[in-house]
């Protein structure tokens, strides 16, 4: 049902705005994915899956010559062979909203379904959002509606309401400080969520900035999460960041709907970590990336761990193509948490053709699946695509996986991408 609805909405978009001026800026993107894979079950029986996915995105700005825009994003699935998920069809409307962006002062308003990140909020809601910043830098944002949540717990699909706001002060180019609040009234099967948050961005010197964000879960009466970092951007080629993060399971996971966060972890645990990342384009087109993180748990199980990663990226072909190499490791107190990961990829895009190759391998110190006795996993993805028309591209993936779970796993995917835009300018 959802797939035809999504197609209908996107195709009838121009009719939704009969007063829209010819200057309206419309972008339409359709991506159709046809997958094929086979699963061999114990006993030799084979299941074949062929789900067909359609992803549609439509954005129209400058409606009626006004600073008004419309946004839509959604997907649908239809199974052409065995049932691949929950039911033979599925889908979701991710975004469907109108937005007003005032030409001056950055005042904005949204109405409909949208993904919101504002202070402590990172939620998709069916509702309204408004934000304004005064010329002196004092501002406020408010939102309210019903959260769009999906859970596997029956009867707990979404909470009754979610609302909140943020007050902030911003001094252009120097600082922004915010205090935020979020309240989610739960359904009978879950707990309420009430969060207080603070956020900070300060440029202490040219190319040096401090960021911080913290949230307190009033329902659990615990700090939920904290993140503080210093970032140094001395020019256009070097970017360095280091910082501290922490979260308490009881504070962060208190209102989770996913049982993985309620039953399989010890809710008395706390994670503290320090991290550093370096991104350095040491010569045009060549970038080295180094990242390190130390994780400390209050509980001996899972214990502490260190993660390190080094990578090299090369950009070529007028930035259309990239090749990369990376190696990462996790060294931990407990053997079952240790592994190494290696990856190599490259793309090649001559004229209308696009070829890519991506290989990844993981080595585990101990059998990750007890009883299987296999410590290595690897996957290779090869793709080929051809630009049939200016707005139409046909491409395909072939994936081979070997892992402790899959002895031999072949998967195929065909992708048809259609991107059409009026007016000038970019949108990704």
């Amino acid at each position: 049902m959802l797939l035809p609805a999504i197609v209908s909405i996107a195709l009838s978009l121009p009719l939704l705005f009969p007063g829209t001026s010819p200057a309206a800026d419309v972008t339409l993107s359709s991506k159709t994915y046809g997958l094929y894979y086979q699963r061999e079950l114990p006993g030799g029986e084979k299941d074949r899956f062929a789900p067909l996915y359609e992803y549609l995105s439509a954005d129209a700005a400058n409606l009626g010559g006004k600073p008004l825009s419309f946004h839509f994003y959604g997907w649908g699935r239809l199974d052409l062979a065995e049932e691949s998920g929950s039911g033979r069809t599925s889908g979701e409307i991710g975004s469907l909203y109108m937005e007003y962006l005032h030409p001056q002062g950055n005042a904005q308003a949204k109405l409909g379904r949208f993904f919101l990140t504002e202070g402590v909020a990172m939620d998709t809601i069916d509702g309204a959002f408004a934000k304004a910043t005064t010329p002196v830098g004092l501002g406020v944002s408010l939102y309210g509606g019903v959260p769009v949540e999906y859970s596997i717990l029956s009867g707990a699909e979404r909470a009754d309401s979610l609302y909140g706001g943020r007050v902030f002060f911003v001094k252009a180019g120097f600082a922004e400080l915010g205090a935020s609040y979020l309240k989610e009234n739960g359904s009978p099967a879950r707990l309420d969520r009430e969060l207080y948050g603070g956020d900070l961005w300060v440029r202490v010197a040219t190319g040096v900035e401090l960021t911080g964000q913290a949230s307190y879960n009033r329902t659990a009466r615990e700090m939920a999460s904290e993140r503080y970092a210093v970032r140094i951007v001395p020019g256009a080629t070097v970017d360095i960041s280091a910082g501290y993060e922490a979260y308490e399971y009881a504070g962060l996971f208190r209102s989770a709907l996913n049982p993985a966060f309620l039953t399989t972890v010890d809710n008395n645990d706390k994670v503290q970590s320090i991290f550093a990342i370096v991104d350095w384009e040491f010569t045009p087109g060549w970038t080295v990336e180094v990242a390190a993180k130390h994780l400390r748990h209050d509980k001996a199980d899972p214990g502490d761990a260190n993660r390190g990663e080094i990578g090299l990226r090369h950009t070529y072909g007028a930035k259309k193509d990239v090749a990369g190499l990376s190696a990462a490791f996790v060294a931990a107190d407990r053997d079952e948490n240790e592994y190494r990961e290696y990856r190599a990829f490259a793309t090649y895009s001559p004229d209308k053709l696009r070829l890519t190759l991506d290989a990844i391998a993981q080595q585990y110190k101990r059998d990750p699946i007890p009883g299987i006795g296999k410590k290595n996993a690897y996957q290779v993805v090869a793709t080929a695509g051809y630009q049939l028309l200016a707005a139409l591209q046909l491409s395909g993936n072939l994936t081979y996986t070997q892992s402790p779970i899959f002895e031999k796993d072949y998967a195929g995917l065909v992708r048809l991408s259609y991107d059409l835009g009026t007016g000038t300018g970019g949108k990704k």
Binding site: Y33, S90, N106, F115, L138, V148, E176, R227, L413
Partner: protein, 156 residues
Amino acid sequence: MMRRAYAANVLGAVLLALLFGCSAISTAPSVPPKHPEDLAAGRVNCLECHENVSTGALKPYGTFRHSRVFINSHGTYTRQGQSLCSSCHAPAFCQTCHAGKEELKPNVKMGDRPDRMAPHRGDYLVAHRIDGRLDPGSCFRCHGNKNDVKCKQCHK
């Protein structure tokens, strides 16, 4: 008590109207709803064309250079405002990963874009057991209250 609450609500409404009113008469230009020029391929470096401070986010353009550092910490910036992001990225871009009910992993959808940072590359079914034990907060952001259809096969 009722009169005090009523007065507080009225005062709040007046204050909000004043703030939005002041914002509406501001002469500072807003960030455009769509980037007026075509965007370059690959990771964007705003400094190639821009200087100083961005409209919308009111932060230096250097902050938004799409380096590995920025990509890892982009949430810090979006929580202070999305309008600059929206100038170049449609909602579909964010919701490729930040989905409510997704069945295809981002790296499957973007199999032809190995240069993009996409979570869960390779056979992540095995590796997630370790990442989930060591740093479950990184899973929670996307799978705590939504997008847990795949989780239910084991976590019941």
